[in-house]
């Protein structure tokens, strides 16, 4: 295995993050703080607690998921799209590196950045609300798995996209609505019966539900099902990345 290549890709991506620290870290932290002020303090104070959890606390896992998903996707997508866009990908493709090493380097850096952002959001949230985490190991498991699998998904988008519009298309038109409609700010029980059934087709519901369970033991679906969903999504992304590299999709002619 070409460990040096993984190291330099990882460090190069992390350096890119450091060079754009305001955009990379401050921006998600500020937007999360705004969510807390608007939903948690202003509106939340008029909403009764959900299953014994105050509304301001209830939305913390959903808000973290919102940032983790969007950040993981955009970091990884941009990480591989940019060298494709400016032509420097030739160097990676002509180096003695397997696709596994390329993926570990780029996706690993993106997932690490998301983990850092998620942790910062968690710390920020603790300033606004009184947080408790009932199952820390499960919480970390969901946290890490989400960062990795959605970074992989972002990597796929970055490989697929051949312009900046496509790069934004899926995160903006699919992921954001799915996160908002997946119970970030509410429990599925609060929806009418018909919409409860529709929501069950939203894969993000399972992520948020499982993650929320690890905090408060409150969930919309069983934690086993949530774990199975995230692992299935991870496996699907890995298979797709493997297929893209095997066929040289948009990388080798």
């Amino acid at each position: 295995m070409n460990i040096q290549a993984i190291r330099v890709i990882f460090l190069n991506e992390m350096r890119r993050t450091r060079n754009s620290i305001l955009q990379s870290v401050a921006s998600p932290v500020i937007s999360t703080a705004l969510y807390f002020i608007v939903f948690g303090a202003a509106i939340g104070s008029r909403i009764q607690s959900i299953e014994g959890v105050s509304y301001g606390v209830f939305i913390v896992p959903g808000l973290m998921m919102l940032s983790l998903l969007t950040q993981s996707i955009s970091n990884a997508a941009f990480g591989i799209f940019f060298p494709k866009f400016n032509g420097t990908i030739y160097e990676v493709m002509s180096a003695p590196i397997s696709f596994v090493e390329i993926v570990i380097g780029y996706v690993g850096a993106s997932a690490t950045k998301s983990l850092i952002i998620g942790t910062i959001i968690l710390i920020t949230a603790s300033f606004f609300v009184d947080l408790r985490i009932e199952h820390p190991i499960w919480m970390v498991t969901f946290f890490v798995l989400t960062c990795i699998s959605f970074s992989l998904f972002g990597f796929i988008i970055g490989l697929w996209a051949d312009n900046f519009e496509k790069l934004q298309l899926i995160p903006l038109l699919i992921i954001t609505p799915l996160v908002f409609l997946g119970g970030s700010f509410y429990s599925v029980d609060m929806l009418p019966a018909f919409w409860q059934k529709v929501t069950l087709f939203n894969p993000v519901l399972y992520l948020i539900s499982g993650f929320r369970w690890s905090f408060f033991e409150v969930s919309d679906v069983s934690v086993g099902l949530s774990l199975a969903m995230i692992l299935s999504f991870l496996a699907a992304c890995m298979t797709l990345v493997w297929f893209m590299f095997k066929t040289g999709y948009k990388l080798r002619s």
């Binding site: 040096q4 290549a5 190291r7 060079n19 940019f82 060298p83 420097t88 002509s94 180096a95 002619s253």
Partner: protein
């Protein structure tokens, strides 16, 4: 593969998805330590050929071995000894010079070596630009950075794809010096170029490629001897309107308003040129000589003749 070939290409063809056949059954051996220049017009297949060897393009048919290893099955072994300088100035402009060169070294599996990278940048006259952002460099400087990146992992084969395209004369000569220095250290160099002058100046062998076909690969000197022509220009004291009948057998042409007789002949290979006889026949025909000079066809003339000949269209 011949005993000292470092790259061996057999029956290599490449047809792109749009149906364009960029390479047609290419057979080529590159000898260890030589400088091979690939000449050809735009779209001839030069870049496709080197991209295929470097792993950027998948061959449709055929095999390539580098130092005895297959470029697809044993890609790690082959790629770790190859450096590539691409045609375009493809650099991530937000990086620093030192960082981007260290990145390239790591990609090729080598541990960090700041001292080596410092020396490399010094050798490429980039000593005062080591911590400069790439976006602040001139085109010539960026070209040097690309060379530094290609040499960062100490390759034994270097591909230079149009290394001096759009480069000023001074930098071009610097590049030639650099290439010569690399050859002295045992690096095998394959360069593609439009500039015949470049091939003439630095190559040991020349390959001519057109329409995806490798028309020939020859020692530069042999090629010029084999295909090169010499022109003997005989300036006459008085102008003439027709060539005397006694001189018809030489296939002469009249130039400069009848003041110059031009005789074209193949040079070298120890064959008689017929010059002595021609000069004596000119005297016998009653014409008076004023001056005599010869010119040799350049690699450029040979190249143009080759790619224009009907059998290679």
């Amino acid at each position: 593969m011949t005993s000292d070939a470092i790259i061996s290409i057999r029956n290599l063809s490449k047809t792109y998805e749009n149906g364009h056949q960029a390479l047609k059954s290419v057979e080529l051996d590159v000898q260890r330590g030589e400088i091979l220049a690939l000449l050809g017009p735009n779209g001839a297949g030069k870049t496709t050929l080197i991209s295929t060897i470097c792993g950027l393009v998948r061959p449709s048919t055929g095999t390539i071995t580098v130092d005895g290893f297959d470029t697809i099955k044993q890609f790690r072994k082959t790629r770790e000894i190859i450096g590539l300088v691409p045609q375009e100035l493809t650099l991530s402009v937000f990086d620093k010079v030192r960082d981007t060169v260290a990145f390239s070294r790591g990609l090729f599996g080598k541990p960090p070596a700041p001292a080596y990278i410092d020396k490399l940048l010094d050798d490429l006259s980039l000593h005062d630009k080591k911590d400069a952002m790439l976006m602040t460099l001139s085109g010539g400087m960026k070209r040097r950075v690309l060379i530094a990146k290609a040499l960062s992992h100490e390759p034994s084969i270097l591909f230079l794809d149009e290394p001096t395209a759009g480069v000023d004369v001074e930098l071009r000569k610097d590049m030639w010096k650099l290439v010569d220095g690399l050859r002295q250290s045992g690096v095998t160099i394959i360069l593609t170029t439009h500039y015949i002058e470049e091939a003439e100046e630095i190559a040991d062998r020349v390959g001519v490629i057109n329409n995806g076909e490798l028309l020939l690969v020859e020692e530069k000197r042999t090629l010029m001897q084999k295909l090169g022509k010499k022109r003997l220009m005989v300036e006459l004291a008085e102008s003439v309107t027709t060539i005397p009948a006694s001189l018809q057998k030489y296939g002469l042409s009249l130039e400069m308003d009848g003041r110059t007789l031009v005789y074209t002949y193949r040079a070298g290979e120890g064959k008689p040129t017929g010059i002595t006889r021609l000069l004596s026949d000119i005297s016998e025909s009653g014409l008076h000589l004023q001056d005599v000079k010869t010119t040799e066809s350049s690699l450029e003339d040979i190249f143009v003749d080759l790619v224009r000949s009907p059998e290679h269209q």
